[in-house]
Symmetry: C2
Subunit: 355 residues, 2 copies
């Protein structure tokens, strides 16, 4: 059965790491005899915006909806297009309109990568952030009053729904249930954010009753970020609202050494719409065009995509290849963020060869 | 001139660290011949709530408004009073009704404290978080629709005003101006939080024009938390909204070793109302009652209070005493969070003796 993948490289280093992601996927397809086809699109990029005045063509939905998955690079080029325009016109639209309500982000300390945390070794940090991905603090509801005057007031609403919160909690509890430690941590801020977050806590408690085997705890987001640094070994599955999940899934990977390595999956668990796989890192205008971006986040995202497409062995093989190349620690292969002096392509080829 | 200080110990370890804070202040008063008087109140605590059904007496405002400063312990005892009830009924009320619109929190790696970050030494981390402290994400505006049903929708509004944002930005820029590096970092999330945060960015840019000597940069809150861990040396003055500042001022101290040590000042810069000084840590139900809480956050907050009251030498003497005791590193004096086996009182006495 052919599986069709839409390829959207996006901006900046997205265009540099994407070929390496594809190289790894093709290697895995050869080894495991998978029938994958790739179709590349130039939209969902700031270049496209500059030419067409919008991030996506009018028929983007019908163009993409039939694919089995979307493989995404990185988006944003703030010098020419403000971030909120490029992001709301592409990535955030996909998440919402394709109802990719789970954003799943592993935080794992890999061999050969030095953690900025003192004394942490591979195995010490290994958890998932499960982020609500369609509602919450990322809302487009609100506005400005007395605009441009001293009395200016700007309001933005956080909107949470029982449907939206319960389904992502269910996903997180299900995930915790499959893990040896069966532990779920809820990110809250019910002491300060006094309407939505106390309610979030009640939803977590209600869902918890359906999972008696899962041990549940919660931290306010402020001390939770502190505990990511002080006690990263405490965590197994961390479930969070859209904004809190965004923060935790950059901080978690930072604690495991480099953001360049972290993958993410934007999942529509029911499969009604295609899911989207992308690295956690952004388009990195500061290093774009130099061929030194770390392609591992893109490649690992490809591994998550294969897992999602029902090919867990192929996904595992990609991850094993990443780990092997990192463990080998060849400075000529590793990119500068890993303290090497290799290139995007060199590191991508090394991983593809291992696969 | 007598300076009158209202003492509110609060809950849990608040009641244990407060006596040590007072001990240090009294030592400083003797040495610098200050005329400080202290008046203790039992309200703003969960015990008071359980007895009176409210956190504060009806006349709290007139009782406290005449003081020169409020010296606060820690608040919250979630086992008996939900956090949002205790906090909104006390601390958050003080911040708002006494218009303490600046929350100033130093993040400094002190001698003798081991940072969880690999290879960081005293001097490497030394910045301030300036947090907006009265509006923003901590709003009480919003509500629930279709309550208790599957269709439940919960809405909470973030409210920012030009007055509120500009005045805290001004404070932060003024502070940056006095520092050798003259660098200000703005915490934003204008790529995702599409109404309030792009507007926040324009206010930062507008204020920046009035401070040509201050170097300004900005990061989205997700990558900013990552950079606190990866590059804490990049920061000098970080200015943030209420929620983002809350997060950063727990994470920053975590990166400097222990939250138990971090102080904070809730400042009404105009002096129309008393300012409030409190440790960053909470009431810590898990260790309360054992006499092992670290009193340094409380003591250092007292130093910030003296500075605010126009006694910078006395404040500096307290901080120097803290540093000396930490540098001495006597395990019998240091509390368990500092890897010692001392007590709250023992550590407090050691610091007071140095003063
Ligand atoms: C206790 C809580 C409401 C408070 C806050 O979020 O402001 C605390 O975390 C702080 O930082 O002072
Ligand atoms: C680019 C930005 C809008 C996005 C987000 O905040 O969701 C990114 O940080 C992410 O985590 O995928």
């Amino acid at each position: 059965m052919t599986q069709r993948i839409a390829v959207l490289a996006g901006d900046g280093i997205g265009k540099e790491v994407m070929p390496e992601g594809l190289r790894a996927l093709e290697a895995a397809a050869r080894r495991f005899d998978l029938d994958l086809t790739f179709e590349a699109f130039d939209f969902a990029s700031c270049d496209y915006y500059l030419e067409h005045g919008q991030m996506l063509p009018d028929d983007w939905h019908s163009t993409l909806v039939g694919f089995d998955a979307l493989y995404y690079g990185a988006i944003g080029w703030p010098e020419t297009v403000p971030d909120h325009v490029s992001l709301w016109g592409s990535l955030l639209k996909f998440r919402r309109e394709f109802d990719q309500y789970v954003n799943l982000r592993p935080c794992r300390l890999l061999p050969g990568i030095e953690s900025p945390l003192a004394g942490r070794k591979p195995g010490d940090i290994d958890f998932y952030v499960v982020r609500e991905n369609t509602e919450g603090e990322y809302s487009s509801v609100g506005g400005t009053m007395f605009e441009g005057t001293e009395r200016e007031v700007v309001i933005q609403e956080t909107v949470m729904t029982r449907t939206g919160v319960d389904r992502v909690l269910k996903y997180a509890f299900d995930l915790a249930q499959t893990r040896p430690r069966k532990k779920l941590t809820s990110a809250t801020k019910s002491n300060g954010i006094a309407i939505t977050m106390p309610w979030w806590d009640t939803r977590v408690a209600a869902m918890g009753e359906r999972y008696p085997e899962v041990e549940v705890d919660q931290f306010h987001i402020d001390i939770l970020t502190a505990n990511f640094v002080l006690h990263p070994d405490w965590f197994d599955v961390v479930v969070a609202s859209n904004l809190f999940g965004d923060i935790l899934s950059d901080l978690g990977p930072a604690c495991t050494g480099t953001i360049g390595v972290a993958p993410s999956a934007n999942i529509n668990p029911e499969g009604t719409f295609p899911s989207l796989f992308e690295p956690v890192h952004g388009s990195a205008p500061d290093i774009a065009g130099r061929g030194i971006a770390n392609p591992i986040g893109q490649i690992w995202s490809g591994a998550m995509m294969l897992e999602h497409l029902g090919q867990p062995e192929a996904g595992a093989a990609i991850l094993a290849a990443i780990e092997a190349v990192l463990a080998a620690g060849d400075a000529g292969t590793l990119t500068p963020d890993l303290k090497g002096h290799g290139t995007t392509e060199g590191l991508g080829r090394a991983i593809a060869e291992r696969i």
